[in-house]
C-alpha cells in the first residue's frame, strides 16, 4: 500500500502543490482529501485509485454481482466527492468510506428489490439443490480420481458458503463481510455500520452460526443419499 501511494504521488508530482515529506508520511489521505476538497480533480482521482478495490470488494460481497458492484462503486465515489467538504479532519477516512459504501449498497439493494430484481430465495434453493445433485453425482462416479473428487467437493463447499452469505439478513451480512472478509475490528465495523460493538458482535456471531448450519445441512443432505 505504501508503495502504491508513493507511486501515485510520484507520477503526478508536477501537477500537485508541493507538500513536505513529513506531511505525506503522516497521513497521505489527509493531503489528498484537502486537495480534493479544494477542487483538485487529480487528487480526487488518486483518492479513488487508493480506495477503489476496497469499495468494489465490499460492494461485490454485499450485492453479489459484478454489475451492481460497479454501479455501487460509482455512486460511492460520487457521494464521496459531494460530501467531502463535510468530512471532518482527523476522522477515520476508511471508516467514513465504508459507511458510505454500506449505505449505497443498501440503497441499491432496496431499489433492486423494489424494481422486482430481488434475490430470489427459490433461486438460491435451486442453486443449492443443483450443488447437492453434483455432490451425489461426484460421489457415485467411481472413475473420478480421489484428488479430483476432493477438489470438486471443495469447490462445492465454497459455492455453498457463498450461497449461505446471500441468505443472511442485510445487517448480519454487512457485519460479517466487514469483520471477517475486510478484516476490520469490531469497533471499526460498529462505526461503519452506525451501531454499537456489542450489536456487531451479536450479528457476527449469529451470521457465523447460520453459515455453518446452512453448510452442514446441505452437506449432510448431499451425503445422505450415498
Amino acid at each position: 500500500m505504501a508503495a502504491e501511494i508513493a507511486h501515485i504521488f510520484l507520477t503526478g508530482a508536477e501537477e500537485l502543490p508541493t507538500r513536505t515529506c513529513e506531511e505525506e508520511r503522516a497521513d497521505p489521505f489527509a493531503a489528498l482529501i484537502s486537495l480534493a476538497r479544494a477542487g483538485n480533480a487529480l487528487a480526487f482521482e488518486r483518492l479513488m485509485l487508493l480506495t477503489e478495490r476496497r469499495v468494489v470488494s465490499v460492494a461485490w460481497h454485499l450485492l453479489g454481482n459484478r454489475d451492481d458492484a460497479r454501479d455501487a462503486a460509482q455512486e460511492v465515489f460520487l457521494r464521496v466527492y459531494k460530501y467531502l467538504a463535510r468530512f471532518r479532519e482527523g476522522e477515520d477516512f476508511h471508516g467514513w468510506l465504508y459507511r458510505i459504501t454500506v449505505n449505497v449498497c443498501r440503497d441499491l439493494a432496496r431499489k433492486r428489490r423494489a424494481g422486482g430484481e430481488q434475490l430470489d430465495e427459490t433461486g438460491i434453493d435451486r442453486d443449492a439443490q443443483a450443488t447437492r445433485e453434483n455432490l451425489r453425482d461426484d460421489r457415485r462416479d467411481a472413475r473420478t480420481p480421489p484428488d479430483a473428487e476432493r477438489a470438486t467437493l471443495r469447490s462445492q463447499q465454497l459455492t455453498l458458503i457463498r450461497r449461505a452469505l446471500a441468505t443472511l439478513p442485510e445487517k448480519e451480512r454487512a457485519a460479517i463481510v466487514l469483520r471477517d472478509l475486510e478484516g476490520l475490528s469490531t469497533e471499526e465495523v460498529a462505526r461503519a455500520l452506525g451501531s454499537r460493538p456489542v450489536t456487531v458482535r451479536s450479528q457476527v456471531s449469529s451470521a457465523r452460526a447460520k453459515i455453518k448450519t446452512y453448510c452442514d445441512r446441505l452437506l449432510r443432505e448431499g451425503g445422505s443419499t450415498r
Partner: protein, 287 residues
C-alpha cells in the same frame, strides 16, 4: 471463574473461535472447551468454516479496465455536474432581456386578478356586516323596529325567536342561524328581511326550513302601521273567508341571499288573537 455448560458455551463459540472474546468470558469458554470434546470439535469446525468462508468469498479479479471504467464514469459525472449551471444563474438567465418584461407583465396581470378576486369575495361576505348592522338597528329605535317572530301554528313547532333586547330572547340552540326580521316604516310594507349568519339558504328547499322557523306575529299585536302595510285585504282576504272586522292575512317577504329569490308568505291570521302558544314568545318590540 464461572463454569459454563455446553448450551451457554455454544452461543459463544462462534466468537471464541475467531478470537472475538476477551477477558473473563474468553477464559470461561476456553476452560469449557478444554474439558468438553463436543465443544472442542465445534470450535474446530468454526475455525475451518471461517477459513473456508474467507476463501469462498474472495472477490474475483475485476481487472484494470473495470476500475478504470468506474473512475472515468465518476469523473465524467463530476465534470457534467460542474458544467451544469447553478440555480441562481439559471434564474438570472430565465428572466433576462425581453423575458423580464413578459414576466413582469404576467406578474402584474396575476396581481390584478388576485385583487379583483379579493374584492369579489369581500362583496359576497357582506352578509355578516348586514347582520351587525341589523343588531345596531335593534339598539337604535329611531330607525327601525326589529320584531320577534313567533310561530302561530302549529303550537308544537319549534320556533326561533329573537328578542329585540340581546340576551333576553331565545336563540336557536345551534347558533348557526340567526334570524332578524326588520320592519321598515319608510318602505311602507311589513317587509321582513331574513338574514342568516353563516349559511344563507339559496334554494327553495332550504328556504322551506327558514319558513318553518319564521312565525307571523298576529296583526293585533303589531304596530297598526306595519300591519296595514302587510295586510292583503283584496283577493287573499276573500279567499281566506274571513270577515272585514280584522286583517285576514299577514304578508311576509323574505329576501334570500340570492337577490332574484324573494319569498312572499301570506299567512292566515286567527281572528281571536294570539293563542296560548304565543305566551312564551315575545311579539313586537316597538319603541
Amino acid at each position: 471463574m464461572k463454569t459454563l455448560n455446553c448450551e451457554q458455551a455454544s452461543e459463544l463459540l462462534p466468537l471464541y473461535a475467531a478470537g472475538d472474546l476477551e477477558g473473563a468470558r474468553a477464559r470461561e469458554v476456553a476452560a469449557h472447551v478444554a474439558a468438553c470434546d463436543g465443544c472442542s470439535t465445534l470450535v474446530a469446525a468454526y475455525d475451518e468454516g471461517r477459513s473456508l468462508f474467507a476463501e469462498a468469498c474472495a472477490p474475483p479479479e475485476f481487472g484494470a479496465d473495470f476500475y478504470a471504467g468506474v473512475r472515468s464514469a465518476v469523473l465524467a459525472e463530476i465534470a457534467r455536474d460542474q458544467s451544469r449551471p447553478s440555480t441562481p444563474s439559471l434564474i438570472a438567465a430565465l428572466f433576462s432581456g425581453r423575458r423580464l418584461a413578459y414576466a413582469t407583465t404576467f406578474a402584474l396581470l396575476l396581481l390584478a386578478c388576485l385583487v379583483a378576486l379579493q374584492h369579489l369575495r369581500r362583496n359576497t361576505r357582506a352578509m355578516p356586516q348586514e347582520i351587525a348592522r341589523a343588531q345596531q338597528d335593534q339598539s337604535d329605535p329611531s330607525r327601525n323596529e326589529v320584531i320577534a317572530v313567533n310561530t302561530p301554528s302549529p303550537p308544537q313547532r319549534a320556533t326561533t325567536s329573537i328578542n329585540s333586547q340581546p340576551g333576553n330572547g331565545r336563540r336557536d340552540d345551534s347558533g348557526s342561524r340567526a334570524l332578524f326580521l326588520k320592519a321598515r316604516r319608510d318602505a311602507g310594507l311589513s317587509r321582513l328581511e331574513t338574514e342568516t349568519r353563516r349559511d344563507m339558504p339559496t334554494t327553495l328547499g332550504t328556504m322551506q326550513h327558514v319558513r318553518d322557523e319564521v312565525a307571523v306575529v298576529p296583526r293585533a299585536s303589531l304596530d297598526p302601521a306595519l300591519v296595514s302595510a302587510a295586510s292583503v285585504p283584496s283577493a287573499v282576504e276573500s279567499a281566506s273567508g274571513e270577515s272585514q272586522s280584522g286583517p285576514e292575512v299577514s304578508r311576509i317577504e323574505i329576501q334570500t341571499a340570492d337577490p332574484n329569490i324573494r319569498i312572499i308568505w301570506l299567512a292566515p291570521r286567527k281572528a281571536e288573537g294570539p293563542g296560548p302558544d304565543h305566551d312564551n314568545h315575545e311579539n313586537v318590540d316597538r319603541n
